[in-house]
């Protein structure tokens, strides 16, 4: 009796998980399928999941429109912002753990407080400031903003991890004749790797996936990011769902691959924070 109840409970659970998986992955698979269908198969009734004659024509159409340049813009802004934010934020996180920094508490509250300002609420004043400084609509605008939003996060995340690298390990490295730099490079950074990876991955997802900052800080078509380019493409070719889904696939591939590769660090970063926090 009890045994069969357990079994039926387990069956219900598996069924629910299967439904959840279909609801979550179905739309994504549908986008991939649409992106590979020829124009006259896209609106087939009833819809078919497997394309009859798979084609890359939609991807080629996007290339003809120059979407690859927007992809490269997105990649450039994201990589520069994340590298800068994690270097600067990680350094600060390390200093806050190891050195008697003046006003340490105030600084920690500053970083926490900044995270609590919704980033798009600052876009109006930022636009005016950037126009006056001549940064508006340049290649500098987005890396600066993305980095500034990721830094506080990187500080908090790395700080907790640097604290777990034993001080003795650093000292031993120095005694062994390593320079300060070598000690940091060979002992401390490897020790804080999970936090550095998690901070980088979060930063990447934030910057790569952003639309609102990119659409308000950059105007020139040459400087557009991929999400902005897709929205413009939709504005001109609203019914070209094949090409739009090809764009969805291209925009989604990098963050999803990154998430799948680093999911351990990303999931760990959040669950650790919540349980200990």
């Amino acid at each position: 009796m009890n045994q069969s109840m357990r079994l039926s409970g387990r069956a219900a659970l598996l069924a629910a998980s299967a439904i959840a998986t279909v609801v979550v992955l179905g739309p994504i698979i549908w986008a991939v399928s649409t992106s590979l269908k020829s124009d006259n198969h896209i609106f087939a009734v009833p819809p078919r999941l497997i394309p009859d004659e798979p084609t890359l024509m939609h991807f080629q159409r996007l290339l003809a429109e120059g979407v690859q340049w927007s992809f490269l813009n997105s990649a450039f802004y994201t990589v520069v912002a994340v590298a800068f934010a994690v270097a600067v934020g990680g350094t600060a996180g390390y200093a806050l753990v190891r050195y008697p920094v003046p006003a340490k508490r105030a600084l920690l509250i500053l970083f926490m407080g900044v995270m609590s300002i919704p980033s798009y609420a600052l876009l109006l004043p930022t636009q005016v400031i950037f126009v006056r400084l001549g940064i508006f609509d340049t290649r500098l605008a987005l890396p600066i903003l993305y980095a500034a939003h990721v830094i506080p996060f990187a500080v908090w995340m790395t700080r907790a991890h640097f604290a777990t690298v034993p001080r003795e390990l650093e000292q031993a490295a120095l005694v062994d004749g390593y320079s300060r730099f070598e000690a940091v490079w060979k002992v401390i950074i490897p020790g804080a790797r999970p936090a550095l990876i998690a901070a980088s991955a979060f930063g990447f997802l934030y910057a790569w996936n952003d639309y609102i900052t990119a659409t308000t800080m950059v105007e020139s078509p040459d400087l557009r990011t991929l999400p902005v380019a897709l929205i413009f493409f939709q504005g001109f070719h609203g019914r070209d769902w094949g090409a739009l889904m090809a764009g969805v696939v291209i925009a989604t591939l990098p963050p999803v691959v990154l998430f799948l590769v680093y999911r351990r660090y990303l999931i760990g970063g959040f669950s650790e924070g919540s349980v200990k926090g």
Partner: protein, 309 residues
């Protein structure tokens, strides 16, 4: 015992002081860049935004000091109150959907063991996607024409295609559902971690005492998971209240303003209507609401921790 010469002691103290000073100097140098960037790019615009909210600025033309006029006009306008109402509907609608789903997912993840981790990974894939890209994807799925995925599903049940996104009644529930689709599994991570903290022995003891699954859930799981549920509620409340990109992508606030939340109203006023004075006033209001939410969140969690200690 060898007595330490006086001169030795002073050299020693002096070297400690030097080391401390050097430590402070190195520390300041290392923290400096992060602090400078954060002040220049986050704090200064915040102050400038507040200053701008007190001025009449339209189409980048600053027409002078306006005092609290922007705020007065804002709150005298029924549109603002409607937008605040819609923000609340969006936030609490999404919470009501996301939290039970996340709890179910977390229970399934725990129950399924190693396969559960695969399930969680799958459920989290939409969370790695761009909100605007998610909006594009769902626009295509919800397209009310034969051959559209959603329309075809309706057709198999003998129903005509429905244009959810341009229907004033259905637009908001649809936008909520898409936002939840993207984010609910994020809450499941935190709940899964919370479930992992509950000792397994409690369930064994409860089973020996003859408690049913329902009783075990209500008497053990829910009370012990309460701190994690509180974290999830707080984080999601803040994130849904500030959601704007999914709305821009799916409905642009329409039809007939039915999805214009306060966050979207800010975007519309500042960047589309170019009323920067009033836009900044909305930003200040948004910031204050966020502050209240965050202080409430910290307070709730802080008290709970104090209670346990």
């Amino acid at each position: 015992m060898v007595s330490v010469p006086a001169s030795g002691t002073t050299t020693f103290t002096r070297s400690i002081e030097d080391a401390a000073r050097a430590g402070r100097r190195i520390g300041t140098t290392l923290v400096g860049p992060a602090v400078l960037v954060v002040i220049a790019v986050n704090i200064l615009p915040a102050f400038f935004g507040f200053y701008s909210s007190l001025r009449k600025i339209f189409f980048f033309g600053d027409e002078g000091f306006a005092g609290l006029d922007n705020f007065r006009a804002l709150f005298a306008d029924p549109v603002t109150w409607e937008a605040i109402g819609r923000s609340l509907i969006f936030t609490f609608g999404a919470l009501a959907l996301a939290v039970p789903l996340a709890l179910l997912a977390a229970l399934a993840v725990r129950e399924l063991g190693a396969r559960g981790r695969i399930l969680l990974t799958i459920l989290l894939v939409p969370w790695a996607m761009s909100p605007i890209v998610v909006a594009l994807l769902w626009k295509w799925i919800l397209l009310p024409s034969p051959g559209g995925l959603f329309a075809s599903i309706l057709a198999t049940f003998g129903m005509p295609p429905a244009n959810l996104l341009s229907n004033p009644t259905w637009a908001m529930p649809t936008v909520i559902a898409v936002a939840v689709w993207r984010t609910f599994a994020f809450a499941a991570i935190i709940l899964t971690a919370g479930l992992g903290q509950i000792p397994k022995d409690l369930y064994k003891a409860a089973a020996v005492d003859g408690l049913t699954a329902m009783e075990r859930f209500s008497r053990i799981t829910v009370p012990l998971l309460a701190p994690s549920i509180l974290i999830v509620l707080s984080m999601l409340t803040i994130s849904y209240f500030n959601e704007v990109q999914v709305i821009i992508g799916l409905t642009s606030g329409g039809p007939i303003r039915s999805t214009t939340t306060l966050a979207y109203q800010l975007y519309l006023t500042g960047f589309v209507e170019l009323d920067q004075g009033r836009g900044n006033a909305i930003a200040v209001v948004m910031f204050l609401i966020n502050l209240v939410l965050i202080v409430g969140y910290v307070q709730l969690l802080g008290n709970r921790k104090g209670g346990e200690a």
